[in-house]
């Protein structure tokens, strides 16, 4: 597929890299010559230096024959205009990053229709949604949701004295007769899709699929369920904080936001009258303690500075705050943060790259199925995809036990209407189902590709 990316900042570069890794042809457009020369040095892409709203530049980049046009400059307006022009010039699908709440509330659909946008990406809102899911289930390191929220994929890290240490998966199923399936296990650096004989160890990171209610039952059964966070302290009052606070407040959480910049404090206080907004430097220990950090259920660091996010989160964890989450803006720092013991990290870059890859695969996917959602888990070593089964899928109505799946591939869940099935060998896929597939080590575009 021919793709064009306008704006090559952190997000743009990530998008470009994931498109190229997916095997697409990519053209990068950016104003700064230095950025373009860096990009063409590192990635197998063409760079065009110029404005993304200049018809001539767009034409140079070959917008007339582009299949996917993605505008992710720092300015929402430039992105919208750029996509509009591209759309008029013949680009098949246009995607714009629009993150200002002004556009995202209410008139987004109107804008989308009028501008001919195929998709809007809003990394801040997506990240906020992801944070919200985790805050609702604090035991988990990550929570990914699928269509209609009937099935969730929950990532857990098995602690030192975990009850699961040394337990065989088949025994686990017998002991806890709930609807769940352990889909993937990360031990050290390798990810495996386990079978019944697999023995868990403490220190493993496991991914399991289950309906949300069953997850709670299982965690309670294992006696590791943390109570839901009710009070959350957020560091930084950026766009992500705004979206997250809004979600939290609507579900009755109490939210306290700490922000250095007085102007930003005022804006967020105007928009979120129910939140407690503190004007002060969040890196100051005294301030955090005075505002009752140790009594909080959760602490979320969302400033633009990774160093600050990581260090302050580390401080909060040392003060025994039950759930600590740090936002990592640059991928370089995430391994450092993990070494420090921060379990839950969110990265806007990874989120955006997931969204783009999902969209690109959905464009490519064949008639038999279409990609609904895609998550990369365990540092990108495994992928979870949700497919909608089309009318002429070859896998239909064959019991799963008779399908010869590729190695390290697993069907983790089937959503049929409003019921969720955690599949066993007797279940089969039907038309209209949504099927959750987990793969490690290879790329899947369509449901039919999971069999040998």
């Amino acid at each position: 597929m021919k793709t064009i990316v306008v704006g090559c900042g952190k997000i743009g570069t990530t998008v470009l890299a994931s498109l190229i890794a997916e095997g697409h042809d990519a053209v990068a457009i950016d104003n700064a010559p230095q950025v373009i020369s860096d990009i063409t040095n590192i990635y197998d892409a063409i760079g065009v230096c110029g404005s993304g709203t200049d018809c001539e530049i767009l034409s140079d980049a070959g917008v007339e024959s582009a299949d996917l046009f993605i505008a992710v400059t720092g300015s929402d307006e430039v992105n919208m205009l750029s996509c509009f022009i591209a759309n008029q010039m013949g680009a098949r699908h246009t995607v714009a990053r629009i993150r200002n709440p002004e556009y995202n509330e209410g008139n987004l659909e109107f804008l989308r229709g009028r501008l001919g946008l195929s998709m809007v990406i809003n990394p801040e809102r997506t990240v906020a949604r992801q944070l919200f899911n985790v805050l609702k289930l604090p035991t988990a390191a990550q929570v990914e949701t699928f269509s209609g929220r009937h099935v969730e994929m929950v990532e857990l890290k098995l602690k030192q004295d975990s009850a699961l240490d040394g337990v065989k998966l088949s025994e686990l199923r017998k002991k806890f007769p709930y609807k769940f399936l352990v889909c993937a296990v990360q031990r050290d650096d390798t990810v495996t899709v386990p079978d019944g004989g697999f023995v868990l160890r403490s220190g493993d990171k496991i991914g399991l699929t289950a309906p949300p209610s069953e997850v709670v039952k299982l965690l309670r059964g294992l006696n590791i369920l943390q109570k839901q966070s009710r009070s959350v302290m957020i560091l930084g009052a950026g766009t992500t904080s705004y979206y997250l606070s809004k979600l939290l407040l609507s579900e009755g959480f109490s939210v306290k936001i700490v922000e250095k910049d007085a102007h930003r404090c005022r804006i967020i206080a105007e928009n979120l009258p129910e939140a407690v907004v503190i004007h002060g430097d969040g890196a100051q220990r005294e301030l955090l303690l005075e505002e009752g950090l140790p009594r909080m259920d959760a602490f979320v660091a969302l400033t633009g500075m990774d160093e600050e996010n990581i260090l302050v989160s580390y401080f909060a964890a040392s003060r025994k705050v039950p759930k600590v989450i740090a936002k990592i803006n640059r991928n370089e720092f995430s391994s450092v943060a993990e070494q420090l013991g921060l379990e839950t990290l969110v990265s806007p870059l990874k989120t955006v790259s997931n969204v783009i890859v999902r969209y690109a695969r959905a464009l490519e996917s064949s008639k038999d199925s279409s990609v609904e959602s895609l998550y990369r888990i365990f540092d990108g070593k495994a992928e979870v995809l949700e497919f909608t089964v089309g009318d002429d899928c070859e896998l239909m109505n064959i019991p799963l036990r008779e399908l010869k799946l590729k190695p390290n591939t697993l069907i983790g869940g089937i959503i049929r209407g409003s019921t969720s099935i955690i599949p066993s060998g007797n279940d089969a896929v039907c038309a209209g189902d949504k099927v959750i597939v987990l793969t490690a080590g290879h790329r899947v575009n369509a449901l039919s590709e999971i069999v040998q």
Binding site: K2, D25, A26, P33, I42, D44, A45, I46
Partner: protein
């Protein structure tokens, strides 16, 4: 430095040279010549060493940076030349190894300077190999390998940049591999068309193929003692026009291929190139007409020679060494200018000359209006200062290297004109110079030392100096120094 990756890639290059050597082997087989055995031995050697090197040096990670790119290109060209010379030497047709090396470097760098006293006595298999090196050397060996290798490293642009001539190297399409494929496709088709046109003019098939190789790579190895003087005017016109075409930036052909004719016609470099050719042809025609001969013949010889020299091919239809001083002077200037960037030609490249001219004009304006601000435009776009500095520093390093090479051979007892034009012809990958190294003479009389120096000069010219300088500078090789 990622040594394993460098060795692995160089190994693959050697492997491919072994594959290429099978072609002249087939030719030798067809004509039942004795050179078959040496060619096959070399091919086997190349396949074994290349295969072994790339097999045992599996890189841990395939990331390459600018430094690795320069190293890969310099090493590959050096080693391929060293191995490529074996068939000449082993067969005894060129008894001295230094001579054989000079000949093959001249082939790969598309220079076309020869040490053969009697080219017509060579066996056909070896003549084929000699001309075939022009063809692969012209577009670039590594570019070819990139087109055929299944997985190309992400940062392979560094290799392209080190091998493809010109101030700014861009890709035609997003993927490196596809770019390399398109370049070779255009190259292949144009060569094919030329062969057909030559065949149509009654040239024997073997001659047609070899001359097309020499034209496409802008090399210029002839297979007759008088180069192209003995062929019909039609054949000379065909070759003259094709030399001109191969001196054009290949991006233009790609634009024509995707039907963006207007963009192709807008190229400033192309028009400047044509203008230089037209002006030089006109002056030389008048000059030759005054000296002797009819208009038509003067025009043909003038155009052929201008086209041959500006594209740094080096074919000749007459002994231009006997031409009037004005015509020879013009040819000497054309040697320096060279063809367009991104073509198979050598020399400074027209785009660099244009940019230098514009910079000079800007400097003059700065002297008159010290506070004036002016950006330089080329091909409808402002040129960034980085590129301009690159062009000026290339000119300086070009002059310096030229001076050093000239100093190293100026003691040879052939007179100033011969020595100077020899360095000029080798450094710019032209081939023939004037006087004792004129189109009908050869480089055999030079000492072994001078032949090695001139071979190095040819490599400098083909790879545009910097890769080799970086390769030779000690800091590249030291492990600890940053």
């Amino acid at each position: 430095m990622n040594r394993r990756m460098i060795l692995n890639t160089v190994g693959k290059m050697i492997l491919w040279e072994g594959v290429f050597l099978l072609l002249p082997a087939v030719v030798a087989l067809i004509y039942r010549e004795a050179c078959l055995l040496p060619i096959l031995l070399t091919a086997a050697f190349a396949l074994l060493t290349g295969g072994g090197l790339s097999w045992f040096c599996k890189p841990k990670d395939s990331v390459i940076y600018a430094r690795e790119g320069f190293m890969i290109v310099s090493l590959s060209w050096g080693i391929l030349s060293v191995i490529g010379a074996f068939p000449f030497w082993l067969s005894g047709e060129i008894p001295s190894y230094v001579d054989a090396l000079f000949e093959i470097v001249s082939g790969f760098t598309t220079t076309g300077a020869s040490i053969l006293p009697d080219v017509e006595a060579m066996s056909r298999g070896l003549l084929f190999w000699r001309s075939f090196t022009h063809w692969i050397g012209g577009m670039g060996i590594l570019v070819f390998v990139m087109a055929v290798l299944p997985n190309v490293s992400e940062r392979s642009i560094h290799i392209l940049r080190a091998e493809v001539p010109g101030p700014v190297v861009g890709k035609l399409v997003p993927r490196m591999k596809d770019t390399a494929k398109i370049l070779y496709l255009i190259y292949f088709v144009m060569t094919g068309v030329q062969i057909l046109l030559l065949l149509a003019g009654g040239m024997p098939a073997f001659d047609a193929v070899l001359h097309a190789f020499g034209t496409a790579g802008t090399g210029g190895f002839g297979i007759k003692a008088d180069s192209l003087g003995g062929y019909s005017p039609y054949l000379q016109w065909v070759i003259a026009v094709f030399m001109l075409l191969f001196g054009v930036n290949f991006n233009l052909y790609y634009l024509i291929l995707i039907r963006r004719f207007r963009a192709a016609l807008k190229s400033r470099e192309f028009w400047t190139y044509l203008a230089i050719i037209a002006a030089a042809t006109a002056v030389i025609t008048v000059n030759l007409h005054g000296a002797s001969g009819a208009w038509g013949e003067s025009l043909r010889h003038a155009f052929f020679q201008v086209s041959s020299i500006i594209t740094t091919t080096g074919y000749s239809t007459v002994d231009f060494n006997l031409w009037p001083a004005l015509s020879k002077g013009i040819l000497l200037v054309l040697m320096v200018i060279g063809g367009c960037a991104g073509s198979t030609a050598g020399g400074l490249k027209v785009s660099r000359v244009v940019l230098i001219g514009k910079q000079i004009r800007r400097e003059l304006q700065k002297l008159l209006h010290p506070r004036s601000v002016k950006s330089i435009h080329f091909e409808g776009r402002p040129v960034d200062e980085h590129t301009l500095t690159g062009v000026s520093s290339y000119l300086s390093v070009y002059l310096f290297s030229f001076g050093i090479v000239f100093l190293m051979i100026c003691w040879e007892p052939f007179g100033f004109e011969t020595n100077f034009s020899a360095v000029m012809a080798c450094f710019n990958n032209v081939g023939p110079g004037f006087s004792a190294v004129g189109p009908l003479a050869n480089y055999a009389a030079y000492s072994d030392f001078s032949k090695l120096v001139l071979s190095f000069a040819m490599l400098l010219g083909r790879l545009e100096i910097f890769p080799l300088i970086i390769f030779l500078s000690p800091s590249t090789w030291m492990r600890k120094k940053v």
